[in-house]
């Protein structure tokens, strides 16, 4: 599948934004997050910023963005419609939580409860995003459980890494230390989820073949003898994206190193050898978060680029 920049940004940014909100709401609920208005403003501005720009980026990729509101009507059957509705509904508890924290300086009690509801809804929204892809049977690389697990775990993971960087930046060393364990666990889980995803899609499972696509298997192996058109059409541009196997392997390593290994190493070393209140520690935590997001951009690019669509079987692909 063609890896569109707008959709890569949409999935990575909203995933990280919802994950960040999840952790802020959870920490508020646990009563360990100071209700400082300025801090609340900065942290929530980043969470909202990631989510809103992500959604705008997706909307911008539509052929008719001015009609985007129509996408809210078909929640009975369409995961994209469900995603749109969940994204909008989630803004309600998120917004209430934000108003109480940023303007009234409260993030416990009722505010935290509303926040927790928002955190749950944020995860449901990320799940609906994953289902847009995981519900497409014509793309076997997406039509599996690892797509859903990957989106959920990577959202919680990137959100946790961002939360750690932010609480470190505000000098909340006890909270940063508190977050170390969940961050480490999620980085490991994220890596495991992606490794299982990659193993799954490269396990050589075959769903459809050129023989089943044409029904000509009864006469032997089917190959393309002539192209139906002289230049690439919409199908080939959108669904016929090809990536060299050796590049895919390299890009997987880049995603693994930047997305999981480097953040794990940087955060681990920083926590062990530098006081969190030191400027150096704050910078390192920021670098870890940036590295994680960069790794996820590579991961998401591969998620699209490596996914083969069965329509390619009509254009020379032998099995998908």
């Amino acid at each position: 599948m063609h890896p569109a920049k707008s959709v890569i940004y949409f999935t990575v940014a909203t995933g990280a934004g919802y994950g960040l909100f999840f952790w802020l709401a959870l920490l508020a609920f646990l009563g360990v997050l100071p209700a400082d208005k300025f801090m609340g403003f900065v942290m929530l501005a980043i969470a909202f910023g990631l989510i809103v720009t992500g959604l705008i980026s997706y909307t911008g990729h539509l052929g008719r963005p001015e009609r985007a509101w129509r996408a809210l009507s078909q929640w009975r059957s369409s995961w994209l419609s469900r995603e749109g509705i969940m994204a909008i509904l989630t803004f309600i508890p998120m917004g209430i939580f934000g108003i109480y924290w940023v303007f009234l300086g409260q993030n416990t009690g009722f505010t935290a409860l509303v926040g927790l509801v928002g955190a749950g809804m944020a995860l449901v929204t990320v799940f609906t995003t994953s289902m847009i892809y995981a519900s497409l049977k014509a793309i076997p690389a997406w039509y599996n459980i690892w797509t859903k697990i990957g989106y959920l775990v990577l959202s919680l993971m990137s959100g946790a890494v961002l939360t750690l960087a932010l609480v470190s930046a505000f000098g909340l060393d006890e909270l940063a230390l508190f977050l170390l364990l969940p961050v480490a666990v999620l980085l490991l889980l994220g890596l495991v989820a992606k490794v299982f995803y990659w193993r799954h899609i490269h396990a050589g499972r075959v769903v459809s073949t050129a023989e089943s696509a044409t029904g000509l298997g009864r006469f032997g192996k089917v190959s393309q003898a002539a192209s139906p058109h002289s230049a690439d059409n919409y199908l080939l541009k959108e669904m016929g994206f090809k990536i060299a196997r050796k590049h895919a392997a390299k890009l997987r390593w880049i995603a693994i190193v930047f997305g999981f290994v480097l953040p794990f190493a940087i955060i681990g070393l920083t926590a062990n050898f530098i006081e969190i209140r030191d400027l150096a520690a704050q910078i390192f935590m920021g670098i870890a978060a940036a590295s994680c997001i960069l790794g996820l951009v590579f991961e998401r690019w591969l998620f699209f680029a490596e996914a083969k669509h069965v329509v390619t079987l009509y254009y020379g692909e032998t099995k998908v």
Binding site: R70, Q74, W79, L80, E238
Partner: protein, 250 residues
């Protein structure tokens, strides 16, 4: 409403394509473009039509495949590909706006271009590449089974078939109700063992393809007769030649 019809359509209009007859002339694709560029989905926009990489919206494409079996026997098969108007059309259920729908009265899958947002998800959901995105209009377009032709009372009755069917010079394309076992198309499918494409994708296509007929078995020895001037035997020769042969052989 992008949910599929609750009651299965009474009629299932569709195409039956005979791969034994198709010669791959692309006339069906051309007439499809011709009719539809001024029909319901008009225009079927072209991008860079006279340039090096022409692109545009087409609902029908003719592929050519070669098959080869273990004994080295090969076939060339021309293969028209268009929307199969599936019973369980995944392009319909993924649509977030209700623009993509399946008609309850005849099972035709259509796009309401006035409310399509151009998210392209339907084209991702379709295993058969039936949908074409119109970049200039920002909406998705697809085969309408010539819905504006097959019910058109202004046309003579014999013309009320999809453009691809009426134009096919070899009669490789048939149109009718595949839900009615007594229809000509259903009889054809039964007689020729018509099949659906990629049944494993569970979309339950309505269109059927008729497989190329088996090659004629060679019952008589068809090894070419070699002209050999030095015959070893004159048994098959006429009487006079046999006598001469006998005399000379003495």
């Amino acid at each position: 409403m992008t949910s599929l019809p609750k009651t299965a359509p009474k009629k299932k209009l569709g195409l039956v394509i005979d791969l034994d007859i198709c010669v791959g002339c692309h006339a069906c694709a051309v007439n499809c473009k011709e009719w539809n560029t001024s029909g319901k989905s008009a225009p079927l926009t072209d991008l860079n039509p006279h340039g090096k990489d022409p692109d545009g919206v087409w609902f029908n494409r003719i592929h050519t495949y070669e098959t080869m079996n273990d004994t080295g026997e090969s076939r060339t098969v021309h293969f028209p590909r268009s929307c199969l108007h599936c019973d369980d059309a995944p392009c319909v259920t993924v649509c977030p706006t209700g623009a993509s729908y399946k008609r309850e009265e005849d099972g035709i899958v259509l796009v309401n271009e006035d409310i399509c947002i151009g998210c392209k998800l339907c084209s991702w959901a379709c295993p058969y590449g039936a949908r074409g995105y119109d970049e200039t209009e920002g909406v998705m377009k697809k085969c309408t089974l010539c819905v504006d032709k097959i019910y058109n009372k202004n046309l003579p009755e014999e013309s009320r078939v999809p453009a691809c069917v009426s134009t096919c010079p070899t009669g490789a394309r048939h149109f009718g109700d595949l839900n009615d076992p007594g229809s000509d198309v259903s009889k054809l499918v039964a007689a020729r063992e018509g099949y659906a494409l990629m049944p494993e994708q569970d979309t339950k296509p309505v269109n059927r393809y008729l497989p190329p007929r088996p090659k004629q078995m060679q019952t008589v020895d068809q090894t070419p007769r070699a002209l050999i001037h030095e015959d070893t035997s004159s048994d098959a020769a006429p009487l006079l030649a046999r006598w001469v042969d006998k005399i000379l052989s003495v």
